[in-house]
């Protein structure tokens, strides 16, 4: 990936590729001085970022029109995800039940409504 300035706009490039890489060192200096307390804050933030990234990937899979799930209609995907999550909650947060239900729903849905 070779992103250039023209793709991104000068101000956004300034912030993402000028300000952030530069400020990161000042922030870490601040964290170091703070001590153990901040370390857990950093971990909390990292977890939030990772979770958000995963959610992004999930959303892409659910909504994208190309890729491995292309043969499954979007409505079926979303419906199956919702059913799976509902089953997860009802079965007292059992991952196993949720996954099975979601899989069953997507297979049935593809068979009935899909290509």
């Amino acid at each position: 990936m070779s992103l250039t300035l023209h793709d991104l706009g000068p101000v956004l490039a300034l912030i993402l590729f000028g300000f952030l890489p530069n400020e990161v060192w000042r922030l870490v200096g601040l964290m170091l001085v703070r001590g153990l307390d901040e370390k857990s804050q950093v971990i909390v933030w990292v977890r939030a970022v990772a979770t958000a990234m995963l959610a992004g990937v999930l959303a892409q899979l659910l909504l994208s029109t190309s890729g491995p799930l292309a043969g499954i209609p979007v409505s079926v995907r979303i419906g199956a995800a919702v059913l799976g999550f509902a089953a997860f909650v009802i079965a007292r947060r059992s991952v196993f039940v949720g996954v099975l239900t979601g899989e069953a729903a997507v297979l049935l849905g593809t068979y009935w409504f899909g290509t």
Binding site: L3, N22, L32
Partner: protein
Amino acid sequence: MPQQPAESPPHVSFQVFLDGIVAAVRSVFFYVLVGNYVGMGALAHEVGFSFGWMALCTLLIWAAPAQVILISTLNTAALFEVALAVTLSSLRFLPMVAAILPVMRRPGVRQRDLLLPMHVTAISVWVEGMRLLPLMPAERRVAFYNGLGVGLMSGAIIGGGVGYVLAARLPPVLAAALLFFTPMAILMSSARNSRTLLDGLSFALGLVVGPIVAAQKIGLDLMWTGLIAGTMAYAVHRIREALRGRKT
């Protein structure tokens, strides 16, 4: 002994903040900084950035080497390379911030009170801060340091603006001289700060390796220049140390 207040009343803090600004303007660094940024503003103009972008650049980044890297490479290089080069050039902020923030901390100073001092830390601010802060009572230090930083940064932003406008209006020979100020300033400050063989050799090798790498047109040439020339200089340093060690 009377109990120290957790935080000075706002009007006293503001007075101390102004004291900081005065100290900034009186500092030798103010003139060096303004001169430096006049050249940088001219560079930004010649390369094609907007006036507002240049001011924002100084406000957000507040680090001359990182800014020069950004200005001279953002148009042509891959963004990843620019970020890498900027990251590498700003490593010194970690020990600087870690060294001076404790001088300002005391009971009552909240973490977010330290965010502004953290951001305004740059070499000139840091040097003056390390010199002046120990001379004053602890409750004045945060406001003073902020004033120092804001004062110096304002000088830089104004200098950048002046340089930007000058570059557009000066006759070509003088405009060229103004542009040349930036590489001159980098050369001088690097030469002056070079205390060891490693520093001098890294710089010299970087000057030589840079154009060679750029001519290969493989992209990421700043990164490769730094890695190749820097590692070569470091290797020479290690060899010297080894030879010295063997003698004892």
